[in-house]
C-alpha cells in the first residue's frame, strides 16, 4: 500500500530530482510520510526505500537516528519542552512538570485521547528566550509554568487546526531571544516541522 500518492508522490519525485543522488531524499520523504500517516510507519518506510533505492531497514536505520521522525502515533499537538542547560537554568523543569500535569500526559508519552504528546527536548535554539516550548515544532519563548498551563488549556479547548508560532507567543510567550519581525501565516498542523517544499506547511488566515 502506497503512502505517498497523487500530488504527494509527484512532489516526492520532484524532491528526489533536486539531489545528485536520490538517497538524499530519504529525510524529506520521511517528513512527507509523517504528514500523511501522522508518524513514520512501516509502509511509509518501505515506500521511501523503494523510491530511493534502499532496503526498508536502511531507511529505518536513518529514520531512527533522528528524534523528529516519530515511530509511534503522536498526539494532535506535540509539546516539546526544552530542558537543556539555558532553559534548565531558568526553570524548564517546572515548565515540563506543569505541562505534564495540565495535559495529564507524562514526558515521552501520548495521551489516550490523542490530543497531546509531551516530550522534553534538547536545546531548541531559543536560549535567549528561555524557558522555551514548541508545539508541533512551532516556538513559544519566555514561558512560565502558568503560561505553559494556559497554552495547554488553549490548545485543548480551542483545538486549533493550525498551530501558529506568533499567535502562541502573543498569548503565552514572554522574553524572546531576539525581535521576531512581522508575524507569519504559515504553521503546522501535525507533529512535524511545517515547511512548504515538503508539503508539511499550511497557511493560516
Amino acid at each position: 500500500m502506497s503512502v505517498l500518492t497523487g500530488n504527494d508522490l509527484k512532489n516526492a519525485l520532484a524532491i528526489l530530482q533536486r539531489y545528485p543522488d536520490k538517497r538524499s531524499g530519504v529525510m524529506p520523504l520521511l517528513y512527507m510520510v509523517s504528514r500523511v500517516e501522522g508518524h513514520v510507519t512501516d509502509a511509509g518506510m518501505k515506500q521511501v526505500a523503494e523510491l530511493t533505492g534502499l532496503t526498508a531497514v536502511q531507511v529505518q536505520s536513518v529514520a531512527s537516528f533522528y528524534t523528529m521522525f516519530k515511530r509511534e502515533d503522536t498526539g494532535k499537538y506535540l509539546i516539546s519542552v526544552c530542558t537543556s542547560i539555558s532553559c534548565f537554568l531558568l526553570g524548564a523543569d517546572g515548565v515540563l512538570a506543569a505541562v505534564e500535569d495540565e495535559t495529564g500526559v507524562p514526558d515521552g508519552e501520548t495521551g489516550h485521547d490523542g490530543m497531546f504528546s509531551v516530550e522534553h527536548a534538547e536545546c531548541i535554539g531559543a536560549c535567549g528566550g528561555a524557558p522555551a516550548v514548541q508545539v508541533n515544532y512551532e516556538l513559544v519563548e519566555g514561558v512560565t509554568d502558568d503560561k505553559a498551563r494556559g497554552l495547554c488549556r488553549w490548545l485543548r479547548d480551542g483545538r486549533p487546526e493550525l498551530v501558529l508560532s506568533d499567535e502562541m507567543q502573543q498569548l503565552f510567550g514572554g522574553t524572546r531571544s531576539f525581535e521576531w519581525g512581522p508575524p507569519e501565516a504559515s504553521g503546522s498542523s501535525g507533529p512535524y516541522p511545517a515547511f512548504g517544499p515538503y508539503g508539511t506547511a499550511e497557511e493560516g488566515k
Binding site: T55, Q60, F65
Partner: protein
C-alpha cells in the same frame, strides 16, 4: 605503475614500532603493517576484507607527529615514511583498558552459556588488555534475547558491541543490506526490518566475523565448545568455486564449517549452503552398508564381499564397449582418476562422462585459453558475465565479482535472460530471450554501442557459462570465440558442480584423457597406454549418448560414481528409462538418491571430510582436501571400491592408497605434473596451484568456433535455471536449509502475461516434452519478452524436461 581500479602499487617504506625498525608498503594500514611485522594490535571493528571504520577505538596507538604525539586508530591510519609508532605506551594501554571497560559495562556476564566463549575476541582481548575489576554499578542495557533475525541466525543485542561488522558485511560485501543499526547513541542496536528477515545467502559470514556471541547460527547453537572441536582445512564441495573451509567436528560428527581466508579464492567468505549443507552428512538417507537387489527386486543389505562379487560378475559378463560410467564431478581428483582408469583400462569402454548434459563441452571447459583466474577479476579492464546468475549458482564468485565492480570500480557487463544478483552493480545489463544469444552477441561484437565499445577496449575477463539448463551449450563457444578476439581477453568457463573441472582433468569425459589431453591425440593415447595398457581408441558417448545407448540396448551396464541422472539429467524421463533398461546398474554413492534406488548393486562410499585428496576449482586451482571423520557404517573410499572391482574383474588398477593415485596423476597427467599432496599442504601453495602447473604442460588447446549455437524456435522460450536452495538432495537433506527452498512459480514478463490474459492470481500448466508442472503465475518485468522463467528442481518443478521451448495453458 597502477593496478587498474585499485591503489597504486606501493613502495616499501621504513617505520618504527616500539623502537623496532620495520618495513611495509607505503600507504598500508598501520594495523596490518604492524601485524605483518609481528606486532598484534587488538581490534574489534576492523576486518581486513572490509573498509575500515575506526569505530570501536580498540586499536588506538600513539604516533609521533609534528605537533606532538597523537592517539590514532591504527585501522584508519596509513603508514608514512619514518613514522614512529608506540603500541604499548602507558597512554595506549590506558586507552585499551578504557575501551574494554566501556565495552564490558553493558556486556552480559553470560559467557558460561555463550557459544562464542573460548573463541571470543572480546573475552580474549579482555584477558590480554583489559582492566581488572569493573567500576560500573549501574543497570546494564537490556533487550529481549536472543531474537531470530532469519531462519539461520539468532541475534542477542545485549552481547553486541556495535562493531558494525555484520551490517557492513551485508551492505559492502554481499550487497543485501537487511541488517542495520537502529536508533542512536547508547540505544544503538542491530536489527532487521519488522517483516524483512536477514534472508541473505551469506548470513553465516556475519556469525563468523561477529567478535562476540551476538550473532549465532541456529545449526550450531549450543552444539559444542570450541575446545572440544577438532578441525581440518579443506575445500567446500558445494560448488566449483572451491572455497577454503575449516571443517570442525566433535565425536566424529561435523558440527560446523567456517571460512578460511584464501587470498586468491574466497577471502574467508562462504555461502550459507556451503556452510550449512554438512547437515546432510548425518541424514537418514546416508548410505552405510552395501545393497544388492535380490530376486524379488528389493535392495537388501549385503556384506562387502557379496556385493563386490555380484557387481564384478555382472559387469564382467558384458562385452567391450557395453559398459558406461557417469560421475566423478563430486569426487576427489584421485577418485575420479581411478574411475576413469577403471572404465577405460579395465572395463574397456570409451563411454564416460562426469557431466550430465547440464554443463559445457569438456574441451571448452579444460582447453580454452587464455584462462582467467578469480584474481584476474581485480585487475580486469572490464568483466563480462554471460552465464548463470552467480548469486544462485556460484555464490562466492558472485562476491568476488561484486567486489571488483564496487570497491575496485571495474565495469561489469551482465548478459542473462532476467535479473541477476549483480544487476545493481553492473555498468550494463542485457536481458535476452534464450535462443537469441547469437543475435545479442552479434550486436555487441559489432563494436557499436556502449557495451561493444567498453569490451573493445580490452583486458576483458569473461565468465562464460550457460544461463540456464535449456540454453544451447554451444552459445558459450561463440561467446568464447568473441572474447578471444578481444585484446587481452581472458576466459573462465563456468560449470557448477564442485569438482567438474577436476574430473574433466582426470579424463572423465568421452573426449578427454587425464591431464588435459585429447583422446583424439595418438601421442597422448600412446603415452597413457604405457602406464595403463591398451585403452579404447575412439571417443565414446557423453551423458546423452550413454542414456540413449542404454535405452537402445547398445550399452548394457552403467556405473555411477556420485551421480544421479534420474534427478539431474535435463530429461529426467529419458534417464529413468535408461536406468530401467540397463542390464546392470552399479552405484557408488553417499546418499540413496533416486538413481541409487534403481541400481542393482550399491556401494556406500566416503564423502566430504571423510577422505583425503585433491580437488580442482573453476579456475583450475588444485587444492588439498582433508579427512576429519570416519564415514558412516562400513562405507569405504570410492577408489578402494573401484580397485576391488577391478581386481575381481581380473586386472588391478595398482592402487593401494589415495596418495599413490595422486602420485600417478602427477606422473602421467601433463597439466598436473609436479603437484603433490605435500606441496599443497605447506607454504604458499596451501592456497592451491592453478593448472597447468608448469609452463607448456597443457597439451590441449581448444579454439572455440563462433556462431554454432542453435536459435530458439518461435513460441515461449524456457529459461530453466537453478536457485541456491533447490529441491536437490544436499539442500533437501539439510534440515536448516530445506525450509529455505522457495516455492516454484512460472515467471512471465508482464507484457507477455497481459497478452496471454494471465495474472498473479492464476496458475498455469507448463509442459515440455511430455512433462509438465502446475505453477502459480508470477510477473517479472526483468524477464526478456517471449521468455518464461521456471526455477529448476524445486519441489514442484522436479521432472520438468529442459527443452528450448515450452507451452503453457491456464488451469
Amino acid at each position: 605503475m597502477c593496478t587498474r581500479g585499485g591503489a597504486p602499487l606501493a613502495d616499501q617504506v621504513a617505520f618504527s614500532v616500539d623502537g623496532r625498525q620495520m618495513e611495509a608498503d607505503s600507504g598500508e594500514l598501520l594495523i596490518e603493517a604492524c601485524e605483518d611485522n609481528g606486532v598484534y594490535i587488538p581490534r574489534f571493528c576492523w576486518h581486513k576484507r572490509m573498509k575500515p571504520v575506526g569505530m570501536c577505538r580498540m586499536c588506538l596507538v600513539e604516533v609521533e607527529g609534528p605537533r606532538g604525539v597523537a592517539l590514532v586508530p591504527s585501522c584508519t591510519t596509513r603508514i608514512a615514511p619514518d613514522m614512529v609508532v608506540h603500541t604499548a605506551s602507558d597512554t595506549v594501554k590506558k586507552a585499551q583498558e578504557g575501551v574494554l571497560e566501556f565495552l564490558l559495562i553493558n556486556h552480559p556476564l553470560d559467557c558460561p552459556v555463550c557459544d562464542r566463549a573460548g573463541e571470543c575476541p572480546l573475552q580474549d582481548q579482555t584477558m590480554a588488555y583489559g582492566p581488572g575489576e569493573s567500576r560500573f554499578v549501574e543497570e546494564k542495557r537490556h533487550y529481549t534475547k536472543p531474537i531470530p533475525i532469519s531462519d539461520l541466525v539468532m541475534l542477542d543485542r545485549e552481547r553486541c558491541i556495535l562493531c558494525a561488522r555484520c551490517t557492513r558485511f551485508s551492505d559492502e560485501i554481499s550487497g543485501d543490506p537487511l541488517i542495520e543499526f537502529i536508533d542512536r547513541g547508547n540505544g544503538t542496536q542491530v536489527l532487521t526490518f519488522t517483516d524483512e528477515p536477514f534472508a541473505s545467502y551469506f548470513s553465516g559470514n556475519t556469525v563468523e566475523i561477529c567478535p562476540v556471541g551476538a550473532l549465532t547460527a541456529v545449526p550450531y547453537r549450543f552444539k559444542a565448545r570450541p575446545w572440544d572441536l577438532e578441525a581440518v582445512e579443506s575445500s567446500c564441495s558445494d560448488c566449483s568455486v572451491g572455497c577454503r573451509v575449516s571443517v570442525q567436528a566433535s565425536q566424529n560428527e561435523i558440527l560446523r564449517i567456517n571460512g578460511v581466508d584464501s587470498d586468491p579464492v574466497n577471502h574467508g567468505w562462504l555461502c550459507d549452503k556451503g556452510r550449512f549443507a554438512f547437515e546432510a552428512t548425518t541424514s537418514e538417507a546416508r548410505l552405510d552398508a552395501p545393497l544388492v537387489r535380490d530376486h524379488s527386486g528389493d535392495l537388501m543389505i549385503a556384506d562387502w564381499t557379496t556385493a563386490l562379487d555380484a557387481a564384478a560378475e555382472r559387469l564382467g559378463a558384458l562385452g567391450v564397449g557395453e559398459i558406461a560410467g557417469l560421475g566423478g564431478a563430486r569426487s576427489t581428483n584421485e577418485e575420479a582418476f581411478a574411475f576413469g582408469k577403471f572404465l577405460r583400462a579395465v572395463a574397456d569402454t570409451p563411454h564416460l562422462d562426469c557431466q550430465l548434459g547440464e554443463g559445457l563441452d569438456p574441451q571448452f571447459v579444460v582447453g580454452v585459453t587464455p584462462r582467467a583466474t578469480i584474481d584476474d577479476l581485480d585487475t580486469a579492464g572490464a568483466i563480462l558475465l554471460w552465464g548463470p546468475d552467480l548469486k544462485e549458482e556460484l555464490p562466492v564468485l558472485y562476491l568476488r565479482v561484486r567486489r571488483a565492480a564496487t570497491e575496485l570500480g571495474i565495469p561489469l557487463v551482465v548478459v542473462h535472460p532476467r535479473r541477476t544478483g549483480l544487476d545493481d552493480v553492473a555498468a550494463h545489463k542485457l536481458a535476452y530471450r534464450p535462443g537469441e544469444g547469437l543475435d545479442v552477441l552479434a550486436s555487441i561484437a559489432g563494436g557499436n554501442g556502449a557495451i561493444g565499445e567498453l569490451l573493445a577496449k580490452g583486458s576483458v575477463v569473461a565468465l562464460i557459462g550457460r544461463t540456464g539448463l535449456s540454453e544451447d551449450q554451444q552459445l558459450a563457444e561463440s561467446v568464447g570465440a568473441f572474447v578471444r578476439d578481444l585484446p587481452e581477453g581472458k576466459l573462465m568457463p563456468l560449470v557448477r558442480r564442485s569438482n567438474t573441472y577436476g574430473a574433466l582433468d582426470m579424463g572423465v569425459a568421452p573426449t578427454l584423457l587425464p591431464g588435459r589431453t585429447s583422446v583424439r591425440s595418438p601421442e597422448a593415447r600412446a603415452a597413457l597406454e604405457e602406464h595403463w595398457g591398451p585403452i579404447p581408441e575412439r571417443a565414446g558417448s557423453g551423458a546423452l549418448g550413454i542414456l540413449e545407448g542404454l535405452v537402445a540396448g547398445t550399452i548394457k551396464g552403467l556405473v555411477l560414481l556420485g551421480s544421479d541422472p534420474v534427478s539431474d539429467f535435463g530429461d529426467p524421463g529419458l534417464a529413468a528409462r535408461a536406468l530401467g533398461a540397463a542390464e546392470v546398474v552399479i552405484a557408488l554413492d553417499t546418499f540413496a538418491s533416486p538413481s541409487v534406488e534403481m541400481a542393482d548393486v550399491v556401494f556406500p562410499v566416503l564423502g566430504f571430510a571423510e577422505v583425503e585428496g585433491t580437488v580442482t576449482n573453476l579456475e583450475g586451482r588444485v587444492q588439498k582436501v582433508n579427512q576429519l571423520i570416519p564415514g558412516p557404517g562400513s562405507s569405504r573410499a570410492a577408489w578402494e571400491v573401484i580397485e576391488d572391482l577391478a581386481r575381481r574383474m581380473g586386472s588391478s588398477l595398482g592402487f593401494t592408497s589415495a596418495a599413490g593415485i595422486s602420485a600417478e596423476i602427477a606422473a602421467i597427467a601433463p597439466a598436473y605434473s609436479g603437484i603433490s599432496w605435500e606441496r599443497l599442504s605447506v607454504g604458499k601453495d596451501r592456497v592451491g596451484v592453478v593448472v597447468p602447473a608448469e609452463e607448456g604442460s597443457q597439451p590441449l588447446v581448444h579454439i572455440p568456433v563462433a556462431g554454432s549455437a542453435t536459435r530458439a524456435p518461435d513460441g515461449l522460450a524456457l529459461h530453466l535455471a537453478r536457485v541456491l536452495y533447490d529441491g536437490g538432495l544436499r539442500v533437501g537433506l539439510s534440515p536448516s536449509l530445506a525450509r529455505l527452498a522457495p516455492t516454484a512459480a512460472a515467471y512471465l514478463n508482464p507484457t507477455d502475461a497481459a497478452k496471454m490474459k494471465l495474472d498473479e492470481s492464476m496458475r498455469v500448466r507448463a509442459s515440455t516434452n511430455g512433462t509438465s508442472a502446475d505453477l502459480p503465475v508470477r510477473l517479472d518485468a526483468s524477464l526478456a519478452q517471449g521468455t518464461i522463467y521456471i526455477p529448476y528442481q524445486l519441489a514442484d518443478t522436479v521432472g520438468l524436461t529442459a527443452t528450448p521451448t515450452i507451452t503453457i495453458e491456464a488451469v
